[in-house]
C-alpha cells in the first residue's frame, strides 16, 4: 500500500459545510477513488458554473451541494477531490448553469441534477421492472465502484476473425424463462450456469444485446391488447455508457454488477468464448426537446447533439435525437468508453448499432473520411478488438459494402440475409447471388483488401423473424406491441410452408425443420463470419412477432424445453459447427480464386449444376453446387462439395470426378439422425457418380 502520509497532494486545502476539498485532477474524467478521497471531474464547453451534488444512497434529497470554486476549473473541466467519503453509499450528480437559448442550441437548466456520463455504475433501476418513483427528479444517479477485480491471467482472447461463430443473445431473455432452471433467472449470473451449453453448442463468441445502463421504463405504456406493461426491453437507448445495467445483475441491488459482469466475462473466456457488446452511440435516452433531461442535454446540449439551425434535434436514428459523434469532444467520450470496456471488462469486440450515423458531420451530411471511425480503427487499446458495424441508419444511409472501414471494420451483411432468404424460399434466378454470398461477398468486400472476414453473414437477428418463424409466417404479427401491427419490417422474404403460424400438421413441421437445416448449412459453409440468433439452434419462435422490442414475456424468453423437444435440430447444429471447424477451407481470410489455388489443377472454388462444371445461372435456376478444393488441417488434399436444391422437385446432381472417394457428411433431405454425420464419421457414397437431392434440401459431401 503506498505510504500516503508523505504525499502533499493528499491533504485538503478547502472546506465547505464540513466537507474537506482540494482542486482535483482533470483526468481521468468521472469519479475516481483516490486514497482518502474521491476525484470528481466533469467538463462542459458552454456552462457558466457547476455544482457537485452528493446524496446518501437512496435518499430523496441531497446531503450537500458543493459549488465548484472557480479555482477548481481548468479550461472547461471542473475537478475536485472530496475527502472522507464512504465510497459505497455515496451517490453523485451535477448541476450545470448556463444560457437557456434553444435557438442557439443551449438548454442549460440548473434545476436539473445531471448524471455524470462517465459514471461507472448508475442507480435507480437496480431491480428490473420494479416500478420507479416517477416523482424522483434525479432518478439515475452516479455511484462509485472498486476497480480491483482479480482477473488472474485472463485477457481478451484475440481469436482470428475468420474462426469466429457469433451467437447474438439478449442477457435477460437467455435465462429468464422458468425452464432455464437457473438460480438467478434473466441475469449475468444466470448466463454463468449456461456456459457448458454454449461450449457444447460449438459457438466461440457471444454478442450481448445492449448491457449499458438503460431505462426499461422509457416510453413504457400499457398494451391496448393484453394490458401488460410494454417496456424498452431491448435497451437500444443508453443512459450510462460506462455502467453495466444493474437490473441485469443478480447482485445489482447491492451495486456489485461490475464484479458480476467481470466474473462472467472471465468464466466465458475460460470456455474459449469471446464476448462482443452491442453498443449504441447514435442517440441517447434523452429523446427530443420533449424528452427527459438526464445527462448530455443539461451538460452541453450544443456539443453532444446534432441540431438544426433553429436548435431542434436532427433525427437520423428515428429515436428523437442524434449524437454528434464527429465532434471532437463526443469522439473522445466514445473512445474513452470503448477503451474502458476493452481494458476493464476484457471485452473482445463491439457491434455498433446504426453505425452509418457515426460517419455523419454535425449537420448530417455523410463524411468521406469520418474522424471517429478512423480513430476507432487505429486506436492502440482497441487494436485487437473486433469492430462490427450495422452499416445503415434510419436516415436513408445504406453503406453495406461502402462503409469507411480502414481495413478494420466488419459489417452486418444485409445483402447476404436477403439473398439467402430468397434463394432458400425458392425465388428463381438467385444462383449467381448465392454463389457470390458463399464466397464471402467479394462484390461488397473484394476491393482494397478487406476480404470475407469483413462480412458478418446472418439469416436472422434480433430485428425480424426467428429462423423457425421465417418458415412459419408470411405476414408479421406484432399486435402485442400495441402499435396496431404497423411496426416492424414488411419485406421479410419469409414463407410459411403452406400454413400460417404454428401447426400440428406433421408434413409442414418436417418441411420447416428441413428448411431450417438447409438455410443453416448454407450459412455455416459460406466464407465470412457466421452469426446465429439466440434459440434458432433449437427452433425458437416469437409467434410471428418480428419486432418484439417491448415484450418482457415468453415471446422474448428462450424456452429451454426446446432443447429436448427439438433435440434433433440441436444435434444437427452442433455437428454442423464441428464440420465448419474441421474444414479451414470454409474459413479462409481471403476470397477464393477461380482458376487455381486448389489441389493440383483443381481451382480453389468451382461451381456446378446438375451436371458437373456447368452451373445453371439462368433466370429460372433454383439449384447450385460448389466445390472447394485445397488442403485440410493435416495438409492432406481436401475436396468439399456443397449442393443445394431449392426447387420443389428433387434432382440428380452428377458429381465432378476427384482423386478421392465421396463421403456424405450432411443431407438435410433425410430425417435425423441420417441428416448429419460427425466429422470423421462421414458415410461412403455407394454410387460415386452422383447424388439425388430431394426437394428444398442441401447436401455436403467430402472427398476422403
Amino acid at each position: 500500500m503506498p505510504d500516503t502520509s508523505s504525499r502533499i497532494d493528499y491533504y485538503p486545502t478547502h472546506e465547505y459545510q464540513g466537507f474537506h476539498l482540494r482542486p482535483g485532477h482533470p483526468y481521468p474524467f468521472g469519479a475516481t477513488i483516490l486514497s482518502g478521497g474521491v476525484n470528481f471531474s466533469v467538463f462542459s464547453s458552454h456552462a457558466t458554473s457547476c455544482t457537485l451534488v452528493l446524496f446518501d444512497k437512496g435518499e430523496p434529497l441531497p446531503r450537500v451541494e458543493i459549488p465548484f470554486p472557480d479555482s477548481f476549473r481548468i479550461g472547461n473541466v471542473w475537478c475536485m477531490v472530496v475527502f472522507d467519503l464512504d465510497c459505497e453509499s455515496v451517490e453523485y450528480g451535477y448541476r450545470m448553469d448556463g444560457p437557456f437559448e434553444p435557438a442557439e442550441g443551449h438548454r442549460f437548466d440548473p434545476t436539473k441534477i445531471l448524471l455524470d456520463p462517465y459514471a461507472k455504475t448508475v442507480s435507480g433501476r437496480e431491480i428490473w421492472g420494479q416500478d420507479p418513483d416517477w416523482q424522483q427528479p434525479f432518478p439515475h444517479r452516479g455511484r462509485l465502484v472498486f476497480e480491483d477485480f482479480d482477473w488472474e491471467d485472463d485477457r481478451p482472447l484475440e481469436r482470428p476473425m475468420e474462426e469466429l461463430v457469433i451467437y447474438e443473445m439478449h442477457v435477460r431473455s437467455f435465462t429468464r424463462h422458468p425452464s432455464a432452471l437457473v438460480k438467478h433467472p434473466g441475469t449475468f449470473a444466470g448466463l454463468l450456469e449456461k456456459i457448458p451449453y454454449l461450449k457444447e453448442l460449438g459457438i466461440n463468441c457471444i454478442e450481448m444485446m445492449p448491457v449499458y445502463e438503460f431505462d426499461e421504463f422509457e416510453n413504457s405504456r400499457k398494451s391496448p391488447t393484453t394490458g401488460e406493461t410494454l417496456y424498452n426491453y431491448w435497451g437500444y437507448s443508453t443512459v450510462g455508457f460506462f455502467s453495466p445495467k444493474a437490473g441485469y445483475a443478480a447482485t445489482g441491488r447491492w451495486g456489485m454488477q461490475v464484479d458480476e459482469l467481470k466474473n462472467v466475462v472471465k468464466e466465458i473466456h475460460k470456455a474459449g468464448i469471446e464476448v462482443i457488446l452491442d453498443v449504441v452511440f447514435n442517440h441517447t435516452a434523452e429523446g427530443n426537446e420533449h424528452g427527459p433531461t438526464i445527462s448530455f442535454r443539461g451538460l452541453d446540449n450544443k456539443t453532444y447533439y446534432m441540431l438544426t439551425p433553429e436548435g431542434y434535434y436532427f433525427n437520423f436514428s428515428g429515436c428523437g435525437n442524434t449524437l454528434n459523434c464527429n465532434h471532437p469532444i463526443v469522439r473522445s467520450i466514445v473512445l474513452d468508453c470503448l477503451r474502458y470496456w476493452a481494458a476493464e471488462f476484457h471485452i473482445d469486440g463491439f457491434r455498433f448499432d446504426l453505425a452509418a450515423i457515426l460517419g455523419r458531420d454535425p449537420w448530417g451530411a455523410p463524411l468521406p473520411n469520418p474522424p471517429l471511425l478512423e480513430s476507432l480503427a487505429f486506436d492502440p487499446v482497441l487494436a485487437k478488438c473486433k469492430l462490427i458495424a450495422e452499416a445503415w441508419d434510419a436516415g436513408g444511409l445504406y453503406q453495406v459494402g461502402t462503409f469507411p472501414a480502414y481495413g478494420r471494420w466488419a459489417e452486418w451483411n444485409g445483402k447476404y440475409r436477403d439473398d439467402v432468404r430468397r434463394f432458400v424460399k425458392g425465388d428463381p434466378g438467385l444462383a449467381g447471388a448465392l454463389a457470390t454470398r458463399l464466397q464471402g461477398s467479394p462484390d461488397l468486400y473484394g476491393w482494397n483488401g478487406r476480404g470475407p472476414t469483413a462480412s458478418i453473414n446472418f439469416l436472422t437477428c434480433h430485428d425480424g423473424f426467428t429462423l423457425l418463424d421465417l418458415f412459419s409466417y408470411n405476414e408479421k404479427h406484432n399486435e402485442k406491441n400495441g402499435e396496431e401491427n404497423r411496426d416492424g419490417a414488411n419485406d421479410n422474404h419469409s414463407w410459411n410452408c403452406g400454413r400460417e403460424g404454428a401447426t400440428e400438421d406433421p408434413p409442414v413441421q418436417a418441411l420447416r425443420r428441413q428448411m431450417i437445416k438447409t438455410a443453416l448449412s448454407i450459412l455455416l459453409t459460406s466464407r465470412g463470419v457466421p452469426m446465429l440468433w439466440m434459440g434458432d439452434e433449437m427452433g425458437r419462435t416469437q409467434e410471428g412477432n418480428n419486432n418484439a422490442y417491448c415484450l418482457d414475456d415468453p415471446t422474448n424468453w428462450l424456452d429451454w424445453n426446446l432443447t429436448e423437444q427439438n433435440r434433433d435440430l440441436l444435434r444437427f447444429v452442433q455437428l454442423l459447427l464441428r464440420h465448419r471447424k474441421a474444414h479451414p477451407l470454409l474459413r479462409s481470410k481471403k476470397h477464393p480464386c477461380f482458376h487455381r489455388g486448389g489441389f493440383e489443377e483443381y481451382p480453389e472454388i468451382s461451381f456446378h449444376g446438375q451436371a458437373p462444371w456447368q452451373p445453371d445461372w439462368s433466370e429460372e435456376s433454383r439449384r447450385l453446387a460448389c466445390l472447394w478444393s485445397g488442403r485440410d488441417r493435416q495438409d492432406a488434399p481436401a475436396f468439399l462439395y456443397f449442393a443445394v436444391n431449392a426447387h420443389w422437385e428433387g434432382a440428380w446432381f452428377a458429381l465432378p470426378r476427384i482423386p478421392r472417394c465421396w463421403h456424405v457428411a450432411i443431407n438435410t433431405g433425410m430425417p435425423a439422425p441420417e441428416d448429419i454425420f460427425a466429422p470423421g464419421e462421414e458415410v461412403l457414397l455407394s454410387d460415386q457418380s452422383g447424388v439425388f437431392l430431394s426437394p428444398r434440401s442441401a447436401m455436403f459431401i467430402i472427398g476422403k
Binding site: 439551425p309 431542434y312 437520423f316
Partner: protein
C-alpha cells in the same frame, strides 16, 4: 433601372413533379401549374408539420423518399442570379404529410388536440392556471408576455367573450372539466361586470369594457377603438354573445338564454332598419339612435356594414339555433343571408363584395380605413356561412353566390406562389395593374386563413367538387406549417408572405387579441367537424353538461354545426358514464332524464359513409 441580379430568399409552395436523385434536385409544380427546378444543398434540412405540444419532427434523413411525385411541400429557397433567370436552392423544406394526398391535418384527432393545447395556453397566460385558480378579475386584455401584472389594466367585453367561446369549444371536443369551469366563470363575469340591464326598455347591452384599478372598476360604455369612437358599435354587442352562446349549448343555463334574448331585443329595437332592411352599424350611446349627429365624429351616422349584417350567424346566431332549434332564429338567419345576397355582391365592378353602405344600401366607399377596399377573409366568411345556411334552408341563390365567391377568390385573394391568403386589398384594379394592390402589406393574418379553410372544406363536403378540396388542403397545410407557435404555444397573429412569423409592435401580444383564442379554436372545432364528417368519414365524441331544468322539454340538441340533412347520426350516448338509449339518431337530439344535478353527457356522432363520395 437595375435588373434583379441580386440574391434573395422566398418560399415556394407546390407539389413535387419529379425528383432527380443523381442531380440532387427536384421540380416543384405550384397550385396553378407553374414549375420550378429546385436544387438541394448539403445543408438542406427538412421537417414534417407538427401539431402544438408535439415534438419537432426532423425529416432530413427521409428527404429522398418524401420528395416523390405529387407530395405537397413548402420550400424556403435562396434565388441566385443565373444566365437566364435564377438558380433556386432549397434551404429548408416542410412536408404537410408523408405522401401524395395525405395531410397530417386530416388525421382524425389533429384539430381537437390543437384546440386543447391553445385553450391550455390561455389558461396559463391569463390565469396562471393550474398554479392559481381561474379568476377573471386577473384577466388582461393587453397581456404583456414579458411584463408582470402591475398597475391599471383594461378588460374588453368582446375579447373575454371570444376567449369564453374558445374554452367552451375545447370542452365540447374534449370533455375536460377545466375548460367548462373557465367558460362558465367567464360567462358569469361578463354577466356580473359587463352587462347593462336597461329596465326602461327591458333590454340588455354590454359595456365596451372596464378599466380596473385595485378593486375599483371604471365602466367604459362606448368603444375606445378609433373607428367606433364615442358610439356603441353593433359588432361588439354581437361578439359579446359569442362565448355565452357556445357555453349555453353545453349547459342550457336559462340565465344565459335570457341575456341573449334581451340583447337580440336591443338589435331589433335600436339597430334593425325595418324600412330598408339590414342593421345599422352604430348607435348613439345616450339616445341609442342610429341617426344621431353625435355619430358623425366617427363617420358612423346611419351606416350599415358587413359586421352588423353578416356577423350574427357565425358569432352566435347559428349556435343559438343549434342549441334551441327555434324557428324565429332560423327566420332571423334567413333574413341576414337574404340581405347579404341582395346587397353585397358587386361582381360587375369587383370580385370582392361591397362591405360598407349608406342607409339606402348605396355603396359607401369613403369610410375611414375601409374606403373602397376588401377584406379577403370577409368574402370567404360569407361563402362559408352561406353553405351552413344552405343546410338549414336550402336556396339556389345561396349556393350560387357561395360558388361565385369561391371560384373568384383564389385568383385575387390567395398567394398561389407561397400558399396562404392575403389580408386587405383594393377592390378595384387601376388600368394596367395585373394584381389587386395590397393596401398596407402582403402579410397573412391567422383569422383569414381560417375563413378559407372552413369555406373550402364545407364547400367540398357539401358539393364534392375536387377543386374545393385542393384549395381547402392548401390553406390548412399553410396554416399548420407556419402559424403554430411551438415555442410559447397558441398561434402567431401574422406571418410574412413567405410564412415566417411577424412579431412586431402590438402584433406580439397574444392576449390583446384574445380573438386569437377565438378564431383558432373555432377553426379547430369546425375543421374537425367538416373534415371528419364531410370528408374522411371518422366518428367524433362531443361532451355536454346540461343543467337541471335547463333545455326546453329537457331535450339536448347535439348537432355540432349546420350540416346537410342525413350526413351524420348519433350512434351512442353516455350519461354519467353509463350507456343511454333515449335519443333520436337522425334528429340529433337526446331526451335527458330528470335530475337534480347537472349531467355528464358524451355523444358519439358518426358520418353516414362520406368518403368523398
Amino acid at each position: 433601372m437595375g435588373e434583379v441580379n441580386f440574391t434573395f430568399s422566398d418560399t415556394i409552395a407546390g407539389y413535387v413533379a419529379a425528383f432527380h436523385r443523381s442531380e440532387r434536385s427536384f421540380s416543384l409544380r405550384t397550385s396553378d401549374g407553374r414549375e420550378f427546378r429546385l436544387f438541394l444543398t448539403p445543408t438542406t434540412y427538412a421537417r414534417k408539420s407538427q401539431n402544438l405540444d408535439e415534438g419537432y419532427i426532423d425529416a432530413t434523413g427521409q428527404m429522398g423518399e418524401l420528395l416523390s411525385e405529387g407530395v405537397p411541400v413548402y420550400a424556403y429557397c435562396i434565388f441566385y442570379p443565373a444566365e437566364q433567370g435564377f438558380r433556386i436552392e432549397a434551404k429548408s423544406l416542410i412536408f404537410p404529410g408523408d405522401q401524395a394526398g395525405s395531410y397530417r391535418h386530416e388525421e382524425s384527432d389533429w384539430w381537437p388536440r390543437q384546440v386543447r393545447s391553445i385553450a391550455d395556453s390561455y389558461l396559463r397566460w391569463q390565469f396562471n392556471y393550474p398554479q392559481e385558480p381561474i379568476e377573471y378579475h386577473n384577466y388582461r386584455t393587453f397581456l404583456h408576455l414579458a411584463g408582470g401584472k402591475k398597475g391599471d389594466y383594461l378588460q374588453e367585453t368582446d375579447t373575454i367573450s371570444r376567449l369564453v367561446y374558445g374554452f367552451a369549444s375545447a370542452f365540447l371536443l374534449t370533455g375536460e372539466d377545466r375548460f367548462l369551469e373557465a367558460a362558465e366563470a367567464g360567462t358569469e363575469y361578463l354577466r356580473e361586470h359587463m352587462k347593462f340591464y336597461d329596465a326602461d326598455d327591458d333590454i340588455i347591452y354590454w359595456y365596451h369594457g372596464i378599466q380596473v384599478s385595485g378593486d375599483r372598476e371604471q365602466k367604459l360604455l362606448t368603444s375606445e377603438f378609433g373607428d367606433d369612437y364615442d358610439s356603441i358599435p353593433m359588432y361588439e354587442q354581437i361578439y359579446a354573445l359569442a362565448g355565452p352562446t357556445q357555453t349555453y349549448r353545453i349547459t342550457g343555463d336559462p340565465r344565459i338564454l335570457e341575456d341573449i334574448e334581451k340583447t337580440i331585443e336591443l338589435f331589433d329595437k335600436y339597430y334593425k332598419d325595418n324600412r330598408q332592411g339590414g342593421y345599422f352599424s352604430h348607435i348613439d350611446p345616450i339616445t341609442l339612435d342610429p341617426r344621431s349627429p353625435m355619430l358623425d365624429k366617427g363617420n358612423n351616422r346611419a351606416r350599415k356594414n358587413w359586421n352588423s349584417v353578416g356577423d350574427h350567424a357565425p358569432a352566435y346566431l347559428i349556435n343559438l339555433y343549434l342549441a334551441t332549434g327555434e324557428k324565429k332564429y332560423a327566420d332571423f338567419l334567413e333574413d341576414t343571408f337574404d340581405t347579404i345576397e341582395a346587397h353585397f355582391p358587386d361582381f360587375e365592378n369587383s370580385p370582392f363584395v361591397q362591405e360598407k353602405f349608406y342607409e339606402d344600401w348605396r355603396h359607401d366607399t369613403t369610410w375611414g380605413w375601409q374606403q373602397n377596399r376588401a377584406v379577403v377573409g370577409h368574402n370567404l366568411k360569407i361563402a362559408w356561412n352561406l353553405l351552413r345556411m344552405n343546410s338549414l334552408r336550402p336556396k339556389e341563390k345561396y349556393v350560387a353566390l357561395a360558388e361565385n365567391i369561391a371560384r373568384r377568390m383564389p385568383l385575387v385573394g390567395c398567394d398561389l406562389q407561397r400558399g396562404g391568403w392575403y389580408d386587405v386589398v383594393e377592390r378595384l384594379r387601376e388600368p394596367g395593374e395585373s394584381h389587386h394592390r395590397f393596401v398596407w402589406h402582403d402579410r397573412k393574418a391567422w383569422w383569414q386563413q381560417e375563413q378559407a379553410i372552413l369555406a373550402y372544406y364545407i364547400l367540398y363536403g357539401c358539393l364534392g367538387k375536387p377543386e374545393y378540396l385542393k384549395q381547402a388542403r392548401e390553406a390548412a397545410a399553410f396554416y399548420n406549417a407556419h402559424f403554430l407557435d411551438h415555442d410559447d404555444g397558441g398561434v402567431y397573429f401574422n406571418v410574412l408572405a413567405n410564412g415566417l412569423p411577424y412579431l412586431m409592435g402590438n402584433e406580439r401580444f397574444k392576449g390583446s387579441h384574445s380573438m386569437s383564442g377565438y378564431h383558432s379554436t373555432e377553426l379547430g372545432y369546425l375543421s374537425a367537424v367538416y373534415i371528419n364528417f364531410l370528408y374522411t368519414g371518422q366518428p367524433m365524441d362531443f361532451h355536454f353538461r346540461p343543467r337541471p331544468r335547463g333545455f326546453r322539454e329537457n331535450r339536448l340538441r347535439v348537432a355540432p354545426d349546420l350540416l346537410p340533412a342525413g350526413s351524420i347520426r348519433i350512434t351512442a350516448v353516455e350519461i354519467d358514464g353509463k350507456p343511454w338509449t333515449d335519443f333520436d339518431p337522425d334528429g340529433w337530439t337526446v331526451q335527458l332524464p330528470d335530475s337534480e344535478r347537472s349531467l355528464r353527457v358524451k355523444v358519439t356522432l358518426t358520418p353516414v359513409c362520406r368518403k368523398g363520395d
